[in-house]
Symmetry: D3
Subunit: 290 residues, 6 copies
Amino acid sequence: MNNELLDTKKKLSQLEGFKDVCHEQGNDVPMPSTEVLQEIVQLARSILFPGYFGDAAVNTQTIMYHIGVNIDRLHFLLTQQIKAGICFNCQFETEKVDEIDQISKGKATDFIFQLPEIREKLHTDVIAAYNGDPAAKSFGEVIFCYPSIRAISNYRIANALLKLDVPLIPRIITEMAHSETGIDIHPGATIGNYFTIDHGTGVVIGETAVIGNNVKMYQGVTLGAKSFPLDEDGNPIKGIDRHPKIGNNVIIYSNSTILGTITVGDGAVIGGNLWVDTDVPPGAKLTQKK
Amino acid sequence: MNNELLDTKKKLSQLEGFKDVCHEQGNDVPMPSTEVLQEIVQLARSILFPGYFGDAAVNTQTIMYHIGVNIDRLHFLLTQQIKAGICFNCQFETEKVDEIDQISKGKATDFIFQLPEIREKLHTDVIAAYNGDPAAKSFGEVIFCYPSIRAISNYRIANALLKLDVPLIPRIITEMAHSETGIDIHPGATIGNYFTIDHGTGVVIGETAVIGNNVKMYQGVTLGAKSFPLDEDGNPIKGIDRHPKIGNNVIIYSNSTILGTITVGDGAVIGGNLWVDTDVPPGAKLTQKK
Amino acid sequence: MNNELLDTKKKLSQLEGFKDVCHEQGNDVPMPSTEVLQEIVQLARSILFPGYFGDAAVNTQTIMYHIGVNIDRLHFLLTQQIKAGICFNCQFETEKVDEIDQISKGKATDFIFQLPEIREKLHTDVIAAYNGDPAAKSFGEVIFCYPSIRAISNYRIANALLKLDVPLIPRIITEMAHSETGIDIHPGATIGNYFTIDHGTGVVIGETAVIGNNVKMYQGVTLGAKSFPLDEDGNPIKGIDRHPKIGNNVIIYSNSTILGTITVGDGAVIGGNLWVDTDVPPGAKLTQKK
Amino acid sequence: MNNELLDTKKKLSQLEGFKDVCHEQGNDVPMPSTEVLQEIVQLARSILFPGYFGDAAVNTQTIMYHIGVNIDRLHFLLTQQIKAGICFNCQFETEKVDEIDQISKGKATDFIFQLPEIREKLHTDVIAAYNGDPAAKSFGEVIFCYPSIRAISNYRIANALLKLDVPLIPRIITEMAHSETGIDIHPGATIGNYFTIDHGTGVVIGETAVIGNNVKMYQGVTLGAKSFPLDEDGNPIKGIDRHPKIGNNVIIYSNSTILGTITVGDGAVIGGNLWVDTDVPPGAKLTQKK
Amino acid sequence: MNNELLDTKKKLSQLEGFKDVCHEQGNDVPMPSTEVLQEIVQLARSILFPGYFGDAAVNTQTIMYHIGVNIDRLHFLLTQQIKAGICFNCQFETEKVDEIDQISKGKATDFIFQLPEIREKLHTDVIAAYNGDPAAKSFGEVIFCYPSIRAISNYRIANALLKLDVPLIPRIITEMAHSETGIDIHPGATIGNYFTIDHGTGVVIGETAVIGNNVKMYQGVTLGAKSFPLDEDGNPIKGIDRHPKIGNNVIIYSNSTILGTITVGDGAVIGGNLWVDTDVPPGAKLTQKK
Amino acid sequence: MNNELLDTKKKLSQLEGFKDVCHEQGNDVPMPSTEVLQEIVQLARSILFPGYFGDAAVNTQTIMYHIGVNIDRLHFLLTQQIKAGICFNCQFETEKVDEIDQISKGKATDFIFQLPEIREKLHTDVIAAYNGDPAAKSFGEVIFCYPSIRAISNYRIANALLKLDVPLIPRIITEMAHSETGIDIHPGATIGNYFTIDHGTGVVIGETAVIGNNVKMYQGVTLGAKSFPLDEDGNPIKGIDRHPKIGNNVIIYSNSTILGTITVGDGAVIGGNLWVDTDVPPGAKLTQKK
């Protein structure tokens, strides 16, 4: 048996034909860590929603201490993970480690500068979730329990990092929320204020989707791509615009699929279980044919 | 850089305009803990399904010891979390800490009194899952692996706590199952015996839904609200009846959406990918139009 | 209060009427452990995708060491869990413990022999995911972040174990992926090369489904059973063929439900939100009626 | 076998004759926790020696945040442990839980008020250790590595708690240091400034010992009791004065034993491996007879 | 650099000349685990001293449950570790795994049968420690905090296992106490009732030492070997009698060294810092020469 | 209360007068970590004593894999900790981070080159311990359980690092062994082959001590400094030679104290509880005066 195992070991150690799916992270820089990114998101949440997360009670007297400490730690960990993300994507030269350190630290700082703005946006999302759900008993319940707030928080954090050209990390952060909530928002999507998703499992919002203010979605809604223009090799062209543009004050009911670069006008209401691949005029009400 | 970080820290410490989304848990009572609630659910499961969960083999001779120890620990932890839930929702007076202790302990005891009844109900759910799924190899596989049994267990536990007027905790418990299984059952829903959900991802069962005995659902089924009566400020009225009433012996196939306070009669079969917002007579068979 | 708790403890210790939902694992063999199975899957992933998972950087010089160590540990842990699975399902005789040890070790070895083949298949799945998604930035991002790769990896591992007649463990492994990704692939399904699922939440692929090469699915797609032939007691017959057969080069868009032992021909395209329960000819394009 | 185990279980459950060595902690108040007390000591050390302990770098700008957060957590945990200590020693009445809460919180606060003074004393101990050991490379090495600093820190913390009439907890804290360093200082001892112990293993300093300023000891030194006055039952009288009084500027070399309520005068030097049970005049030099 | 590391790896992989200091544990039986042995000792302590250790309050109503559960777990873990110990010392034949299982289980059961007797002995040790130390405030403090009780508990457990011919495990258990308390009692020593050690650091009690009832020792006392008869190769003969025999009611003060197979008579008092290698008559009082 | 706590926080944040006992580790380089250093020592032990430590069985076929993986991880972690040690001791310039990285990596590599030699030396220590102790049942027991082997292993590792001019880390490594075993060997000491310490608690071996081959010590032995030459400020001069030089084949019995730069000649035997501060001629036998 041991000899056969030895053969299998040797076979698995020969990587010819698999080179492009193997990975060699640069000089001892560790891989991005989902565990550390979880701590980063948790720190960000404890800063954005004082008193809800983290291991201690805060009040107006003590909040400054807690935010001070949490931002320092967030800065330290985020710098480290941004560096891991940069080293994941490119084969950097040894002599540039220092430069990568500086770049990573700078991006982490720039991210922290945006936290007040992220808090303002999330504030509007909490209000929308509370107002839109008769089952919501309090703001506290919404912030502490609602999967949509968790998914939107991760998205707003990841979106800010993506705009700072941080590679890989934003996608990991939204996939973490995807795994926990079943809500898959690409960090590249553009989403306005007062955004709310009810229940949420199965929601997909694509990379180039644009969503206005005060939009509400239910579980299973897809804002997807219809078809992909192909390059000369027959493969889809990367990064091209391919997702819907949703106006303000739109409601989309559960399990509907909105596809392609179509426009859904302000105030439209799209019923459940629909397949929509053409423009929807402002104020329209779509329902499933019986 | 440090000075700019300092500015951001100060900005984030000023909570004007965010007061209603900040939280100040009362006198040193810790926040509800998802980790402890996981242990509580695990303890309840080890009591309800002897031999499947927990860290030791049990047999008829030893079961009494294990149930005795697990109930003691369940009582202790649940008292603590009920207290955390009560202190989350109201600003209690310092002098009433003792009273809250007594109330919490009483509710924990009352919950434990209901465990035999919860076990009987879950027993019927296991039978329904086993009988209804040709892929199920044994009761053991159903209890140990099936996400629906996990989601329904959490629901039955949470529902019992909600009936005891425990705030917040029931919702956290069903959201824990939602995150693990993609099945979102509001703790306020009313569900009969022999209930089974196949696969389950994307199922939503609303707060005021009522489900009879021997009902089977597939993944992606929604029992949702159609429209919300608004109060004078234009916001949905909290807690009002708004979800379907499902009779006995009903089957609802995958990804169908049943909305509003409609009635689905006994023995009805609702096909997949449907949008249903009117009453369904007993024995009806609905399918998607082609 | 203590006396009443004592009564409840006694009541819960009486298992009459619940015998078939209680479990007694054989002589001190521990229950299967989800935690250990997570480590097993993680070890398999670190072997199959060198450099992406595990706690250290590898390169061509060091890969042989890492694969050697990881396979030894995988073999040890898998032997243990296979044994736990065997002892879960049958009441084995004490004197056969040794035999069960040998059988478990043999199955673990046979599984390891299949790892090179599993790697080849997963390689094609990674290529399909990368080529099929304009948002995918690199093979690395696909392997490291994409839930579909995680779900398909667990499926391919579980499928290999199921073919070796390992009880229970394969199902736990696919349910682990179901919980993390919302993708529920039964380990008994048969799936060709270059298989990809986009987003994935809510996908269900049943026990007797067969999928050709180069098939792409979106979130919410079900390959399910339509009706179950009943045995003389009115219960579904276990294990009978009841799921769709999908040809090569098929695309199925989000939230469509394909039911029964129907055939979907090569090159067919099935639009979103459809309910399909009859054969689909090769090259057909189905869309939702408006 | 199982029946015999059952007998042993019953036998071990009968506590007649062992009542006074069994323990019943009051109404659900948990036992003191060595793990939490370790965190408490670690928090105190991170406050007393800024920058050496704890999980983040501090500088003059950030120190206030870290000390603020650490003191809040220290206060919370210490209150809890003081309560556990009070409930360990007496059978308190249920209706007094609230009162015990208030007392515990008050004592925790009073302890924190003494931290600046404790830091000043420990500062002198660090200077003494650094100056007295030619192997000490820096203050940093002394603070970070030296077992004597750890033992003296725990003693000074425990002594402050003992003076606040906190039961049990001070003893646990000095025993934690005893286990880690082999240095056993009773929390009731009285020790001046600039105190240093070199190497330290085996040092014992009794409950009623008094030590002046600028005293240095080596490993294995005992300040013990010689004989115990007995009460009418022939048992030693608890708490009576029975240990040496050491003056200022005294050095005691390794493995010497100083016993009884004798006085060692200022400036005395006691050589190693001596047994001393009579007064030592100021300035005396004692050595082992050859 | 990598090539040189490779050379070192190769060099370290060549075990010629080191064979007798390498270890190959038999067929996949894991090594003994200090972590598991810690849990075993903790379980034994929670059984022997009800209410002091373990994670829940017990009272006369609940003690039976807790002891039942703890003994089951102790039996399971101890069987496993005894097996690990047996497989550490001998190269067992594969076909005897089953037999080793049975032997290990039998020894674990036999150990549990002795727990009532171990409790009775430890009860006397607790009384002796409490009565002998004026600083001891309560039985509770002695049981919960005193290193001597921990060391003697581990010794009494290890001694019982050694008498059952369990290899290696007894020594690991006493070394665990040695590391925590600085008290090194060989599991083979014979120790009577009412045994107490004050402070304890540095105490050594050799393999063939015999200690009567009601003996008290202080820190640093050695009961050691004086000289070792050599075998024909010039190496000490293993296991030969070489340690002191201490009578009843003896007191030995700190740092004294008693060597060889001498006898210390009943009621003798040996002062501190002495080197004793000849018989001490009953009732004698020895002190250091000045 | 809160205001008073605030005052204390402010007081503790003012570091005037304490600057030299505060620490500011350079640019985000973390502090040395005792936890990581424990892993480093554990890795080294699993390499030096194949089969005894680490989480998997090894045999001649698999040892190369395990050593390969463990050395890679050891190299990675050690580089990190050496860097932490360098940044602990000096205020490095930001622009030199890269250089410190290179230096740290180089020292880690150089350390690994010395592992074969360290193994050879430790091999002799194991033989000496086994041969010298009649209670030792096997080489395995000595390697797995004996505190002296642990202390000497840590010393030999730390000594190699110290010779490579690694600051702080060597001292932490020997203090870790000191805490676990009560044996305090300064990493700067020079110790020959076949060195053994029996029991060990309380042993102290100073920075400039030199020990020949085949030396045996018992618990409580000190090789210490007698007096320290003072500098012009009256403080001991750092690093000066001040400890004994022990020849070959020397035995020193328990609790003896050897002080100053004296010489103990080859083959000398020093009895227990002695205070020795003058040269001891070769072959001499010293015993305590009676």
